[in-house]
Amino acid sequence: MKSLNEMSIKFLSRSSNEAFARAAVAAFAAQTDPTLEELNDIKTAVSEGVTNAIIHAYPDIMGVIWIRVRIFDENKVEITIRDRGVGIEDVELAREPMFTTGGEERSGMGFTIMENFMTNFRVYSKKGKGTTIKMVKHISCKATGGGIH
């Protein structure tokens, strides 16, 4: 299926880049004319995915993070976040609410939020190879006519 529009970004796994990453995705997704809540859901999910790559995928080194965003017909926004970090041994366990290897500073709710806030959510990971998460948000059609304008 061909996308109507797409972009990708690539950046270093510095925590100072979290704000940039979520702002960039939100600015791109904004052209589907989402509601404020839909746009905030996307921004929140991206923040979770990027934070995971920064702290879990590259715990001790500076790595590279990729995000691709594609807009499809019928107001479907697909977001892919990819790292080449340590990977996840047991994805099912990692996705459990409250599960975290991050200690007191983490809530273990990242995956749960991505899953709840987005329409579809999938995780692909291989120990030692890295992790890719793919999520889709359906944008409600407005009476005034949504779509790319």
Partner: protein, 112 residues
């Protein structure tokens, strides 16, 4: 730092403004802990009216403030939480543990 505090009759108000993600979380937790150590207030009101974005990193910050206050037998409140952070906190069930308040903080309200 987009965080500040002030004393009021009812306790201490800590106000956070801007976005709160993992990048800002550690410093914010430390700030809350320091305030609690320093003043041991009877009530800490975490004013989030100017919080423009929060992800799950903020859950740990809120729970850190809540636990530290509980440990000294004092109360912790979240004040004026905007919709986006409220949705994140609700997803984690924090709204069933921590007390939320709106508008001006009155002695009688938070004494409930």
């Amino acid at each position: 730092m987009p965080i500040s505090h002030r004393k009021i009759e009812e306790g201490i108000v800590v106000e956070y403004s801007g976005e709160l993600g993992h990048h800002e979380a550690k410093e914010t937790m430390r700030y809350l802990e320091n305030i609690i150590d320093l003043y041991a207030p009877r009530r800490l009101i975490f004013d989030l009216s100017k919080l423009t974005f929060m992800d799950s990193s903020g859950i740990a910050v809120v729970m850190c403030g809540y636990r530290n206050m509980r440990d000294i037998g004092a109360s912790f409140f979240l004040k004026d939480v905007p919709p986006q952070p409220r949705k994140v906190l609700s997803a984690a069930g924090v709204d069933r543990i921590v007390r939320f308040t709106e508008g001006r903080v009155h002695n009688d309200e938070i004494a409930k």
